[in-house]
Symmetry: D2
Subunit: 303 residues, 4 copies
Amino acid sequence: MNWQSILQAVAADVAPVVGGGRVANYIPALARVPMQQFGIALATVDGEQAAAGDSHTPFSIQSVSKVLGLTLGLQALGPALWDRIGREPSGNPFNSLVQLEREEGKPRNPFINAGALCVADRLLSAHEDPTKAFNDLGCSLLGEVLAFDAEVERSERTSGFRNAALANFIKSFGQIDNDIDAVLGLYYRQCSIVSHCAGLARAFGYLANGGVQPETGQRIVSREQARRINSLMLTCGTYDAAGEFAFKVGLPCKSGVGGAIVAVVPGRMVLCAWSPGLDETGNSVAARLAMELFVSRTGLSVF
Amino acid sequence: MNWQSILQAVAADVAPVVGGGRVANYIPALARVPMQQFGIALATVDGEQAAAGDSHTPFSIQSVSKVLGLTLGLQALGPALWDRIGREPSGNPFNSLVQLEREEGKPRNPFINAGALCVADRLLSAHEDPTKAFNDLGCSLLGEVLAFDAEVERSERTSGFRNAALANFIKSFGQIDNDIDAVLGLYYRQCSIVSHCAGLARAFGYLANGGVQPETGQRIVSREQARRINSLMLTCGTYDAAGEFAFKVGLPCKSGVGGAIVAVVPGRMVLCAWSPGLDETGNSVAARLAMELFVSRTGLSVF
Amino acid sequence: MNWQSILQAVAADVAPVVGGGRVANYIPALARVPMQQFGIALATVDGEQAAAGDSHTPFSIQSVSKVLGLTLGLQALGPALWDRIGREPSGNPFNSLVQLEREEGKPRNPFINAGALCVADRLLSAHEDPTKAFNDLGCSLLGEVLAFDAEVERSERTSGFRNAALANFIKSFGQIDNDIDAVLGLYYRQCSIVSHCAGLARAFGYLANGGVQPETGQRIVSREQARRINSLMLTCGTYDAAGEFAFKVGLPCKSGVGGAIVAVVPGRMVLCAWSPGLDETGNSVAARLAMELFVSRTGLSVF
Amino acid sequence: MNWQSILQAVAADVAPVVGGGRVANYIPALARVPMQQFGIALATVDGEQAAAGDSHTPFSIQSVSKVLGLTLGLQALGPALWDRIGREPSGNPFNSLVQLEREEGKPRNPFINAGALCVADRLLSAHEDPTKAFNDLGCSLLGEVLAFDAEVERSERTSGFRNAALANFIKSFGQIDNDIDAVLGLYYRQCSIVSHCAGLARAFGYLANGGVQPETGQRIVSREQARRINSLMLTCGTYDAAGEFAFKVGLPCKSGVGGAIVAVVPGRMVLCAWSPGLDETGNSVAARLAMELFVSRTGLSVF
């Protein structure tokens, strides 16, 4: 297929909704991102690339970084990572604290904040310098160190009372080993990673390619671990809209409140779309529609 | 591939765990089913069939019938079915009542009991004789009327206090229109449907074939509705183990406490395995392992 | 003190708020009660009586009947009544189902609906004819059989889905022995008892008099049981406003959505006020204010 | 009555259970308190004092300090204190986080930890030096500055993850104004106050005396505020056993995990008993029994 023309057609079709929704406003650095932006890019396992719109405009990847954290966690600990983190959907956000209580501080999955905090805790135990581990992973995936937005990191830190509540609550069950501030610090650092659509489409190539990064041939995770990550993205990757994504997109996806959505087509490619305006489930309005249109045009759904 | 030999190999490999787990014991009719039984069968969209073990032994399909109910609901109401039923995973069972309260009597999805009761209510409004509707669907799918186990139906009715609690609770929000006893009656009737592995593998062929029953060419649901059902099976079809199934099996599955698991390979086939012993999540120990082994041998996972 | 003039002054002071609030509208028989009514009456342990306003106008006593049910339960079972019913405040109504789940079908106290249903179940086991037991108690307390409002009873029955949900949920834990319909039937019957302020002030005299009915000298419950009932009324008797009542009234109180509030002054008297308009906690606006004014004028608070 | 001989008789009667239960073990400073200790003391509004057992042995007053915090809060803010803190029982501890979520960060009452943290926040805003405010109150009540146990304070701080979770969670709703560490610091400081039975019985005299400290005639709180505190102690002062205390003791009580229980007899006296062993509700086994025996011997219950 002519990926370039498909992405251009998708970009044209979503234009009417770009600027719709609401930008994440819990920190100023996100609140002031102009909403009239949309980018999309893909990278196939065979090395093809295509892009349309603001495909190289940098943005805060936010929760998309949970996939990187999980990748590092599986690299460092293998199956032992799951001793303290579940792998099941969590129902609505309201449940998280009740579930943590009932399940004695074991978060339901690594893509809810509670789970990502536990992953960060494990990375702090496994790596002397976990920020360096993120950077090394960035180099493996993209050939360059990661960029961090210091203002975003600082803002998250000073306004992240709910994350601090989660971390303290989990630690009260003895399920976090490291200092709370260190855990939160690493978590906010990974949330502040900056990238763009073209970069993320390349970076996550290993998830479409059985764990091996297509550009370099380097194994990032095992085939089984890649499948594990993909299945978690499909069942838990898009907040409280995972069921709708499974139906309408039918691909493993991970979204972030910065407006990015990454989708994996197993065996084929990775796709990334971005636009800052969010719907009420915290997913980008335009990026979500772009994913649906792409799948509808190409038939590249797993179902 | 030689499906027959693959199924025989799978049956041989699961033999050591057949008889493990615990049989559903909340009603006598299920509690006395001998545990030393295992069957497996498949039917491809091209008309191939294969089977091994107790593939023609009848059993109570229980919650697998929720797929039939959903199919009838989509046939009768189309998208209006979703006015009163969500399409998202529900987290752990404990949440169901809390979620129903918060979401004002709208169950999270049609595969939890609360959701299936709402589907039954809609079928009662849509069909003068909903049992006949099930039978007509059975004829379309299998060329024969359905068999019901009257003892199972009676037992469910006399011991189903939690289902009665759910139905009354939902009705207190005005989200059930019909008489509670009629709703519960239809629900227990569908739970009491009797079939076998070979039958179920043929019956659900339309889910692997874009909505068209392979044997007859009859359209059962639209292509979009078939995708919807498949995605719901993957995210919500196996109780509190949907995340594990998504990873280890990687196919849309629906299980029942009678010990059956049905799996759809989109575009290819439907598979059904059965063995009465259940694990602590309510899924058959041996049928679950059989699904994992089948996928592992054939690579037929969506991820 | 001159009780008569005190009650008249209270009635005059509450006049401006009579008609405020909202009448209970979940059943027609309650919804059409004229709101411009207010009555108040008291009966001392020494035999004095006083009354003002619509003190002899009959009304549906609703949850005030839970005190009668508890009295019968303690008479029949003694401390064994508490095997299945707790004695602690329950927090807000939202919790009831979650608490029932966590506490395995044991309601928090006999004054929430779940608890009253359990009491009704125990009465069904203890008495061949529980309605007769209520009537016998009525004769002991007032010298006359009770009046029931058949329309209220019927309406409760046909619209009481939430109560039916509670009863079925409790039975699913094995904490209700009798048939659900019988339990609900007795519960709705007791809710439909009709009385008036002067009657209720006399009827509950035993709670102010160490368990002995003042008019007849008949022991109704033990001194200890009377204290138990009073303490439960203070901590749990007025729905989600028990803390406010404890502060502003400072007496054991039980309210009903018919608009009645009964208050016990231990060692002194029983007071009953009534007006149909309810506040958002389900307590009568005018009767509640009347209790506060009475306590403020007389200093008859326990604190 | 001869208070001295009554307290001695009570002390003799509880001797068999002294040493029973379990000492609070979440911090070492509490865990190593010898369990074979029991003290009791009273001080009447007329200036009589009596004591028995280890009535002058110092202990950590822990949650009894919440009454002092509430007193300071009412002094500083009056009714505005209730803008952010409710006055109703909270049900079981499990509910606290769910309730905080539903009630948007407004704790149910000032005697649960969440509520005491909010009080501490308000004191930080109202007083330049809140520790000095506690000390000034101590001087007013006892004629001496308070003693603090620095080790207890330090231990609470380093192990108080659940309190930190609560404080962060409340702040995420904007219901805490000050820095989290400052709020927790003040809270842990007040928990570390050291006193003894004779001291606490004198200190809380104002609650039995309409708000005026009996020894000095100084008004500490208004009459209405004293009633408010007493009613809160009765409905919410003893964790999840408030209903049992209301029945068996029938007096406003506040307990702490250090083993102390303070009880107010309105218009008469304050009583304090102490013994380190706790029952499963967190109340001192022997002090609780002592309260029951005292009430049973003297009839000094409000019911």
